[in-house]
Symmetry: C2
Subunit: 382 residues, 2 copies
């Protein structure tokens, strides 16, 4: 069902311009997928997300399985219809959440046994079940169940997680319907040889797309970038590549430069909710006192509803006063910002000036960044 | 600055169709003013509120004085500009909040001394100060500082609060700029003779509009309705009348029938946030299990974005999962519902069939109301 067209490969870099056709629509790549864990990009309507420019979102198998239940969603006509987003949806397999959110009771080659973070009820995720769930949801792209070790992790654990991920990928492939677009997830932590092994084992399954999991967990950037470059060199040019969890603008640009087509991260939504905006001139912590009388918009270069309508002074007031409109408006801006970022990558690729564009972008982005009151971290995905 | 045109008086009832022209625009009456206490109708953008059909909102002097501060709002070009709502705003004087929210330390004829509910800081609201604040905010309609006793209250306290309200109204009138539209607030609790006295004393000040305060605080409906009827009979036909805090659809209809032109209440927004929707067929408690698989909209008769786009099953999921989109979507619907309600009153008045329309509306509204999980109360305005 998936069709991936490689429209252009950059000369000076490995960046690619592409178009991904999925059951619910077309996605221009490189793309950034806002995260709608529980079937909603937090605080936003589907109309907002579309207006921000997103063409695909990520929802979560673990969360939707627990609540409202995949069979309920199936009866409602599938996830896209249930949530009012009549466009492509990628569902993460829930492996990451089982390891990070649930109380994990036992992992064997058979599957992962866990207790729900909501009510403590016991469940087992097997490769077959996560495929069944994602097919019930009607996902445009389903992800294999993987074992994602934390960072840092020793070589032995990384190796056994890799082996299990390969085993489970084979079972996912055996269980999946032919019309479901199943992506494999490359593991292997920060060990280059394990990463290569994982990639080659998954390539043998001939899947319609490949994701790089288990990165962007706090390891140094150059480690991430080098591994990404090594892996994209191994992956077939005619399949989309997805770097899971990369959310800093500089990381997205660096990974796109190394041939990644798809990104997702909770950063724009989570930081928006908690008062940090991404702008052309860097991050802005809206509660800072310096914005109290600032009648300028969050980002002069942005044409989102938030920037067209409100001043920093008002946005700060909303956050100080604890008003729900504040998180909503900053989330809307951040989601728009990340869409403009990938649109900028795509346009500069089309025009053959990606390197120049990214240099200019990064220059401006670093020019006026405010220190965040709290460190901005990206390790917990909900 | 205020112009009130009485377009039509109903034959069979005392209901009135009117048009109120204010510095920031025109308001068709009877109108319902959504409450935007801190300069935002909770969870909604100004665009949402306008799309729902509202032509005027209510903001709060007490809250905006404390945060962000009226002088900051004045520097920003006034409240309408600061909050991105370029339409009329009525500001409540803050008297109600001083009594209900703040720690009230002392009330004398001079003013009300209180401690902020935010940081405990000490302040004194005098009639002159609340006028100064409302003028700094640039309110289209400013309210007199009043003393609003709780329900029930003894006659002596009601009488002294009334006397002080009259005294303060005189000082407000003396302090106000000629271009500010100052409304008086009739007090007197549930004592008909005190209510009449209060009205006559305020009428002597010849103000551009009159509000009925201190009702809808839990007293029986027939007490409210009888007092409203008595008071509207006393008030001049060519001045707008505002019943403060009336929010139940049945109360709005009953009061409009008795000649009230303006309404405000936190019910649509507060109930929306907490999961109760107002629909053509009565109240719906969205978390109730019966909605878990209900793919129909909240209200078949409603054309708001929520009802056009989402099922009850999805709205329930949002509330069960604690997602911010749930309160937003139910608030949007409720605000739209109350605008359709007053639009229905206006249209039926224009067509000379108000009685029939209201009978049909109330008939449908009572037909399928669900018991709320928690009693819906209306005594605390924030």
């Amino acid at each position: 069902m998936l069709k991936f067209e490689l429209l252009k490969t950059d000369g000076p870099t490995s960046a690619r311009l592409g178009r991904l056709t999925l059951p619910h629509g077309t996605v221009n790549t490189p793309c950034f997928m806002p995260v709608g864990t529980q079937g909603t990009v937090k605080t936003l309507t589907p109309a907002d997300v579309a207006e921000a420019g997103a063409e695909i979102i990520v929802c979560n198998t673990y969360h939707l399985y627990l609540r409202p239940g995949h069979n309920r969603v199936k009866s409602a006509g599938g996830l896209a219809r249930f949530i009012g987003w009549n466009r492509p949806i990628l569902t993460d397999s829930g492996g990451f959440q089982v390891y990070s959110l649930a109380a994990l009771t036992r992992v064997t080659d058979e599957g992962a046994e866990f207790q729900s973070h909501i009510d403590g009820s016991r469940h087992v995720f097997t490769p077959e079940l996560v495929i069944e769930i994602q097919q019930a949801l009607g996902s445009d792209i389903a992800m294999c169940l993987d074992e994602c070790p934390p960072y840092p992790v020793g070589r032995d654990l990384a190796e056994s997680a890799l082996a299990r991920t390969t085993l489970w990928a084979g079972r996912c492939k055996a269980a999946v319907l032919p019309e479901t677009n199943l992506f494999g997830i490359i593991q292997g932590a920060t060990y280059p040889d394990l990463r290569r092994r994982s990639a080659l084992e998954l390539l043998a399954l001939d899947l319609p797309g490949y994701a790089i999991g288990g990165l962007c967990l706090g390891e140094p950037s150059d480690v991430t970038y080098d591994l990404v470059a090594e892996l994209t060199a191994l992956l077939p040019a005619n399949r989309p590549r997805y770097l899971m969890g990369a959310g800093y603008p500089e990381d997205i640009i660096a990974a796109a430069e190394r041939g990644v087509d798809m990104f997702d991260c909770v950063l724009p939504t989570r930081n928006g909710r908690t008062g940090t905006a991404f702008t052309t001139a860097g991050r802005v912590v809206i509660k800072n006192a310096k914005h109290a009388d600032d009648m300028s918009p969050l980002d002069e270069a942005c044409d989102c509803y938030t920037c067209r309508t409100f001043s920093r002074a008002y946005l700060r007031h909303l956050f100080i006063a604890g008003e729900a409109l504040g998180p909503r408006l900053l989330t809307l801006h951040n989601v728009s910002f990340f869409q403009r970022l990938v649109a900028g990558i795509r346009q500069s690729l089309a025009e053959g000036r990606f390197r120049q564009w990214s240099a200019t972008f990064l220059d401006g982005y670093g020019s006026a960044a405010e220190p965040a009151e709290n460190p901005v971290v990206n390790v917990t995905q909900t």
